[in-house]
């Protein structure tokens, strides 16, 4: 019940699942906690389970941790500048494993649901892309499942991948401590804006390409550079860096301050986002991670990231503070403001 004792309009209507529930923000987390996770979250084994709402689960096996993660992939268009649904499906799951410290995937599963009438040549193209991405990641697909549904029963193709891997030390997304530095492994906003431009047929000049890539080896290099110094990790996918940092800050019980001039954003992304009234902090990435690092190790980890081809643009972008718990504060260089979490699919504004 609310402070005013009145029902909100959303309660008053018969509630339907809408696209905002899939956009990775607060609405989605609430829907999951209230429906799908209900009952499961309470009875969890030792380790990281559903209640943590992390990138995956970590289950104890002897003195190691078995990390398990799963992700279903739908994307429009299926082939986009910089990647395709196959690359996304492999990289997404490999990266989720890596975010918990399992940087060497034992194996992936792949379940494909295809719509009747889907072109075989496209399926082959997706397969080739998955194979190639697996090679980059040092991963392989060990089992799978394929279903075909009638025309119109789904839109094209859905791919689910599940991954397993061992971690000697699990890194959660809840381990940030005041003083920790925040690092991003490269430029932000590339994936979401490339897709948005294609999806809404925006005729824009400039090289808009998705950053979709498996970054497990990049993450392995960072972890090895300063063992124990990485306190938390997350991949800023849907909802962008803002959503990832809000979740990490809230779960960790810290506040975060970002320095906008330090954020790596490609100029084309900066200008297109500005034109559309979007904030690169809210735009999805598929080949990036945000790391919390102990302050004394931040430079070492940064150097390790920059030494890797996928981490050339890595940067220290901010720090954690004890105050303003759960908040993300942006120092713009001109002043300070709070960063909001996206609600629903970001839509360009008018005027």
């Amino acid at each position: 019940m609310s402070a005013t004792g009145l029902k909100s309009p959303a309660d008053a209507r018969e509630e339907l699942v809408t696209l905002k529930h899939g956009a990775g923000g607060r609405a989605m987390r609430r829907l999951i906690l209230e429906t799908l996770a209900e009952g499961f979250a309470a009875d969890q084994p030792e380790g990281i389970g559903l209640a943590a709402m992390d990138d995956g689960a970590a289950l104890r096996v002897g003195d190691r941790w078995l990390v398990v993660t799963t992700d279903s992939h739908v994307v429009h268009p299926i082939f986009f500048p910089g990647g395709d649904i196959g690359r996304l499906a492999v990289a997404g799951t490999v990266n989720d494993l890596a975010m918990m410290g399992a940087t060497e995937p034992l194996g992936l599963t792949c379940a494909v649901i295809v719509e009747e009438g889907f072109r075989r040549a496209e399926l082959e193209r997706i397969h080739r892309s998955m194979l190639e991405t697996c090679r980059e990641a040092g991963a392989t697909i060990v089992t799978g499942d394929t279903k075909v549904m009638g025309r119109g029963e789904l839109d094209g193709i859905v791919i689910n991948t599940t991954g397993v891997g061992f971690a000697d030390a699990v890194v959660s997304d809840a381990g940030l401590r005041p003083g920790d530095r925040l690092l991003v492994t490269g430029t932000i906003g590339d994936h979401g804006l490339a897709l948005m431009a294609r999806r809404h047929s925006l005729e824009l000049d400039g090289d808009l390409r998705s950053d979709v890539a498996p970054i497990n080896r990049l993450v392995a290099a960072a972890l090895a550079a300063a063992p124990g110094a990485v306190t938390a990790m997350k991949d800023p996918t849907r909802g962008g860096l803002s959503s990832a940092l809000h979740e990490m800050a809230e779960k960790s019980g810290v506040g975060t301050v970002l320095h906008e001039p330090a954020l790596p954003v490609r100029p084309v992304i900066r200008s297109v986002a500005e034109m559309l009234g979007l904030d690169p902090l809210h735009i999805a990435n598929e080949g990036k991670a945000v790391l919390g690092v102990r302050p004394d190790a931040a430079d070492v980890v940064l150097a390790a990231l920059r030494a890797h081809p996928l981490g050339r643009d890595a940067a220290i972008v901010g720090a954690c503070i004890a105050e303003h718990v759960g908040r993300v504060i942006l120092d713009t260089g001109l002043g300070r403001r709070l960063v909001g979490e996206v609600e629903g699919e970001p839509l360009p504004r008018i005027c």
């Binding site: 609310s2 402070a3 005013t4 009145l6 029902k7 909100s8 309009p9 959303a10 008053a12 209507r13 339907l16 809408t18 905002k20 923000g25 607060r26 609405a27 430029t187 809404h200 925006l202 001039p261 330090a262 954020l263 790596p264 954003v265 490609r266 100029p267 559309l276 009234g277 904030d279 050339r312 643009d313 940067a315 303003h324 908040r327 504060i329 942006l330 120092d331 713009t332 260089g333 001109l334 002043g335 300070r336 403001r337 709070l338 960063v339 909001g340 609600e343 629903g344 839509l347 360009p348 504004r349 008018i350 005027c351």
Partner: protein, 377 residues
């Protein structure tokens, strides 16, 4: 390191220079202190000004004695319930509604366009009036462009209306005209507004002279300002100086875009297609001449003439009781702030907005929700 080139180009630095910004903020502080009373209250009437102020964190460097109020400068927010209802009914009747993204979640009497979309209605987000026309060319179904915005976007709609149009295309105009609502705000008995910061892009079309009559009548200074951080700070400095000196006049602090008479070509197009009409602005009042409606010569592309739009069928749903609590109107009139609303951030959030100020990315409540208003950070 690659950072320097990655982060900011030289063009951006020109109007976003932190050193110059701090110098202007210091000047603004001393000018504000020199006014013989406190606080000084000024109003801007443009969502883009608020966006810029919030986005760059300028409120944390504005003087404590200066109250910068956001007025009714969000065209989406002031779109009235029956206007949304018209689009909802057309969507329910199977028309494809093309509109700017901001309009989707604006609550109507019973539902928003986003609600109709979840129920299977066809709503297309477009970025320009021209894109809505393209959409109509690609289909045989009827496409209605639900057009919103002030003079700036109305000009784009007018240009489309004057061009070649496919027969399945029509316009449902919710366009608004800014100058009349400034009169309304200035005449409000509780108004504390001592000066207006006028929107540079609208003035680029209308010209800055359009405000001369207003200044003469109300004895309140108006400064036309651009949207970069330095534009806004420089505009505020000039505006507070005029307040301090009790000199009501119009000043143009955006000369790189705004001329005395504006873009006459655009004005001609605008007034060839549109006429003003009185109408309610959500939460504000009835605004004489505040709405832009298509002229009779354009009846053939006017959705209101082409279709029977019976919005009464939506009215068996009573508006939510929460709308009675919502103070959007007072906020848009500059009489209150989001933090004074009991619903703000609780029952009313961007996911589930009660008032239109929470819907649009130009709405005060939404901007405060996103950027934290006057944060103590």
């Amino acid at each position: 390191m690659a950072d320097a080139t990655l982060v900011q180009g030289p063009a951006e630095l020109r109007f976003r220079d932190p050193v110059k910004a701090r110098a202007l903020a210091a000047t603004l502080d001393s000018v504000t202190r020199a006014v013989d009373h406190a606080p000084v209250s000024v109003m801007h009437v443009c969502g883009s000004h608020e966006q810029s102020i919030a986005k760059f964190g300028l409120r944390t460097i504005l003087p404590k004695g200066l109250n910068v109020i956001m007025g009714p400068g969000c065209p989406v927010c002031v779109t009235d319930l029956p206007e949304v209802d018209e689009a909802v009914v057309l969507a329910q009747d199977g028309k494809i509604i093309a509109s700017y993204g901001d309009m989707l979640k604006v609550p109507g009497t019973a539902k928003s366009l986003a609600d109709v979309q979840a129920e299977g209605g066809r709503i297309a987000v477009v970025y320009s009036a021209a894109q809505a026309v393209e959409l109509a060319r690609d289909t045989t179904d009827d496409v209605v462009f639900f057009a919103s915005g002030f003079e700036t976007t109305a000009v784009a709609t007018a240009a489309v209306a004057l061009g070649d149009l496919p027969p399945n295309f029509s316009i449902l105009s919710a366009h608004k005209y800014i100058p009349p609502v400034m009169e309304i705000v200035a005449e409000m008995p509780d108004s504390r507004v001592e000066g207006f910061l006028a929107a540079g892009h609208a003035a680029a079309i209308t010209g800055w002279r359009i405000f001369e009559r207003f200044v003469e009548k109300h004895r309140i200074p108006v400064v036309v300002a651009g949207f970069e951080p330095l534009d806004i700070l420089a505009g505020l400095v000039r505006l507070v100086e005029l307040v301090r000196d009790r000199t009501p006049r119009v000043e143009n602090m955006f000369p790189r875009c705004v001329t005395p008479d504006g873009n006459r070509n655009a004005q001609r197009q605008l007034w060839r297609v549109f006429r003003t009409q009185g109408g309610r602005w959500r939460g504000i009042a009835h605004v004489p001449n505040g709405n832009l409606r298509l002229r009779d010569e354009f009846a053939h592309v006017d959705a209101r003439c082409r279709y029977e739009i019976d919005v009464r069928r939506l009215w068996n749903h009573a508006p939510s009781a929460l709308t009675q609590v919502c103070i959007c109107g007072e906020i848009m009139a500059g009489l209150s702030a989001p933090e004074n609303c009991p619903l703000f951030g609780k029952e009313c959030s961007p996911e589930s907005p009660v008032g239109a100020c929470m819907v649009s990315s130009e709405g005060t409540c939404r901007i405060w929700h996103q950027y934290g208003g006057h944060p103590d950070i």
